[in-house]
Symmetry: C2
Subunit: 152 residues, 2 copies
């Protein structure tokens, strides 16, 4: 992890905070290209869009692909505040993301280090390099506060 | 499998044929509600939309959710010509689809009976009932022809 990583982790966290303010599960993501330029940032919008696939990662991938006019994000990196679920981990593989940096682990819903462990499957055609833990405590604290408030 | 299933399998196959005609990987899907009414049908559009998440199942789920104004498709069934990948299998779980009927098995990319086996994970919160094989030969033949033509 580098100082540059810290900038993107902070931007992903800001997207997570913005999602919480919209009453969405607070997860945020940002995608940067090989030159270190931002392509897209997004937070969860499943409630607003009535779309169970509108996770931060999927929205960021769709926006970045649209911007590039391409189905693949070769040499691009994705930062996200929470371990991606199996849907997002697979979408990240399809998009050919080079490097995945995620914050908090997700023992219940995660699909990278937990559950389906998408990148460990022999049938997985593209595996990003994976770093985790950056901004983990802030991301986890945000999620805890959100769900605690939900429970009243 | 019932006679009613056959109708939906045929509609999903027609969507797969339409996808092939658009030069998309020929997979088609249809979602019906508890009363047996069609909510949405879709074929792959990853190339057209520059969106690696635009698989038939994801597009059908997004369209059906949009139609209902809801994030969940309780008591709805999804028919698709090919075994869903891990991304789509997870999206189907998130959407709370009641029953999944798929045609051809997919040893390379499938995430239901192969690879990540999403519904067999202890962390999977909602598992649809799964039937497979309906229209399998027609779906597989369409895929074989498509990829054979691609290879020239």
């Amino acid at each position: 992890m580098s100082n540059e990583d810290d900038v993107w982790v902070e931007i992903a966290l800001a997207q997570a905070h913005a999602a919480a303010a919209r009453d969405e599960v607070p997860v945020g993501a940002v995608i940067i290209d090989a030159e270190g330029r931002e392509l897209a940032r997004a937070g969860n919008r499943t409630r607003e869009l009535n779309d169970p696939t509108a996770h931060a990662e999927v929205l960021a991938i769709r926006a970045a692909c649209s911007k590039l006019g391409a189905e693949r994000l070769w040499d691009c990196d994705l930062y996200v505040t929470l371990e991606p679920c199996a849907m997002c981990a697979t979408a990240i593989s399809f998009a050919r993301i080079r490097r995945l940096v995620y914050g908090a682990p997700d023992a219940k819903m995660g699909g990278v280090a937990h559950g389906a462990r998408v990148y460990e499957q022999p049938t997985c055609h593209h595996r990003p390099s994976v770093d985790s833990g950056a901004g983990s405590e802030a991301a986890a604290q945000l999620l805890r506060s959100f769900f605690k408030a939900k429970r009243g």
